[in-house]
């Protein structure tokens, strides 16, 4: 590990497009060797932030240092040391698996002998043995994603940026993809990843939550759950979920129940409130009055999704 153990340092990073502020003075640090998750709803400014860190966009204000180098001053010094995998299109669909990998390798100046070896590794890692001559467009989404990752790390970058890498990929492929990320991190690579899958966010070492261009939470998943949750979560399994949500929201509006949030989770309902246990009876009474059987209730550990929804309100 190098002397400086911050992979990314962003200070007051701001981007305005005309009157619209896409990223509004955000500060964060990413430590070397960690998986740093960047969470936020669509349009929150995730991609804009990544583009500034890559040197594709000039910040309106603030600075960002990547691997100890100022991005706006010397983008060319950073590029050979980082990898980037964008939302969907980092591969050339009309080229074969091998041709894509060769292009990546040569573009980054990987020498021929070494390149051959690494392409072998990459194909193995993506599980594409025997498909070397398949056109990329004929691969399934999960394979394409793993191939894109293998291509992005062919030159062994110290830091990789992944912009919603698993969007639109099935859960098994996502799991395989994350296993690859763990392997990389074990080798000392730093991973910066944006996602809106909460289960994936739980796998990150540290997280930043961003909303409307502002950073609203920063820390490990546990810290965020502890600090950001204004209350406890009561999980209810009522007979009519949709109606239960409606009834409880109406009760909150009417001021009969001092609860913060009511949200549907499949067949379950999560109610968030400080000391929620003491309202358990009142909640059950409200539901019964509306002819909804409350069913079993329990105070549970909040998930990131609870926190996320509570924060985004």
């Amino acid at each position: 590990m190098k002397g400086n153990d911050s992979a990314i340092v962003a200070r007051g990073l701001t981007k305005r497009f005309g009157n619209f502020t896409a990223v509004d003075g955000i500060d964060f640090e990413v430590r070397r060797g960690e998986i740093f998750g960047f969470l936020g709803p669509n349009g929150a400014g995730k991609t804009t932030t990544i583009r500034m860190m890559l040197g594709l966009l000039k910040p309106t204000a603030g600075t960002v240092e990547v691997l100890g180098v100022s991005v706006s001053k010397h983008p060319e010094k950073i590029r050979p040391r980082i990898g980037y995998m964008s939302q969907r299109f980092s591969l050339y669909n009309d080229l074969t698996v091998l041709q894509n990998l060769r292009f990546y390798g040569r573009a980054y100046g990987v020498e021929n002998d070494l390149l051959k070896e690494r392409i072998q590794d990459a194909i193995q890692m993506a599980g594409l043995e025997g498909h070397e001559r398949t056109r990329t467009k004929d691969l399934s989404g999960g394979w394409r994603q793993r191939l894109a990752l293998s291509a992005a790390i062919l030159h062994r970058p110290e830091l990789i940026f992944l912009d919603e890498p698993t969007a639109g990929v099935d859960p098994i492929s996502r799991r395989a993809f994350w296993n690859l990320l763990y392997k990389l991190v074990a080798e000392g690579v730093t991973v910066f990843v944006t996602t809106h899958y909460m289960d994936e966010a739980e796998h990150c070492h540290r997280l930043a939550l961003i909303q409307r261009g502002r950073l609203i939470a920063l820390g490990s998943p546990e810290e965020i759950k502890r600090d950001m949750m204004r209350g406890q979560v009561l999980e209810i399994a009522p007979s009519n979920t949709a109606k239960a949500v409606k009834v409880l929201r109406a009760a909150r509006e009417a001021g009969r129940l001092p609860i913060e949030e009511v949200a549907m989770y499949g067949a379950l309902v999560h109610v968030v409130a400080p000391q929620v246990k003491q309202y358990q009876e009142a909640i059950a009474a409200e539901l019964r009055q509306a002819n909804v059987e409350p069913g079993p209730m329990a105070v549970i550990e909040p998930s990131l999704e609870d926190v996320f929804i509570a924060c985004m309100r």
Partner: protein, 374 residues
Amino acid sequence: MFKRIWSLAAKEFLHLLHDWWMPSFMLFGGVIELLAVGWATSRPMTNLPLMVLDQDRSAASRAIVTALENTGTFAFEAQAPNMAAVQDALDRSKVNAAVIIPPGFDSKLASPTGRPSLAVLLNGAESTPATAALRAVTGAVREMGQRIALRRLGLDADEFAGFDASLRVWFNEALNEAFYTTPAELGLMLEFTTLLFAALSFSRERELGTLEQLLVMPFSSLEIIIGKSIPTILVAFSDFVLMLGAVHFVFGIPVRGSLILLLALAFGYLLVELSKGLVISVVSRSQHQAFLLVMMVGMTDFMFTGYAAPVESMPRVMQIVANVVPAHHWLTILRGILLKGAGLDVLWPNILALAVLGLVIGTFSLRYVRRALD
């Protein structure tokens, strides 16, 4: 640096290999177009359908129709029963010309003081055949008038030495239309091929979403421009050589000047159009948009090449504008070298103009595209 440029150029060639339609269009589309234009225009205008409304029905009226047919320009199509039929045939473009011979044509022709007249209607909507028809009619009628004059003077054709201009056409002795059309098409096809190909280079990657990836890689903007341009230059130049071969060997278009000079200038001109194409490419958000822009630029250039209408007969403003259109100078150079055997001594003003325009456009393009990529 060269390795990186090569890696990019190699990738571009792979795209070409996989997408066979595009390069084959680029290489052979021009050749096919030239062959079609050349064949269609390689003969003088002949067999234009002619309608006759003969209200005289005499030996003289038949003689004038025969004289018109003998020019080779016309082919007798039909006798018209009345004026309405003539009108109808012209309206429907069934005939290009109609001759109306009024009653008493023969007797006026025979009388020493008669002034025989003849009406000829031409379809001006199609101006090229109309011009050919006009020329043929004028010639036939003048010849007939001369014969009448001779007869009235009681002279023999051998005794008469009238005034006649001795006409000789230089550079295209047989006035073969293909000598005019094919070199112009050749020059324009080089422009279109280069422009289109260059215009698709970045717009394609932008549309597919891969441009971002390219920009994050350790390429400098100059390396990207060079790597992307190499295939365009190679394909467009090969296309030019193929097209030149086609017009030379199939239609006998001569290369009277220096072939080396021609190829060198074609290469230079190609770089100018490449610069324009690259600007279009970074301005466009999609391939579709790039294509439409190329059509617009190409059509505007086309107007100023003097192919459709001579630049000399355009309004003054248009003539001035024509001077800053590279294609205008390029076509002058191309015709000069091919047909006139002109060299540097004659063509230098056009070459200089092309060089200056190239320098200005090239510098602007390079700066603009680099800015767009950075």
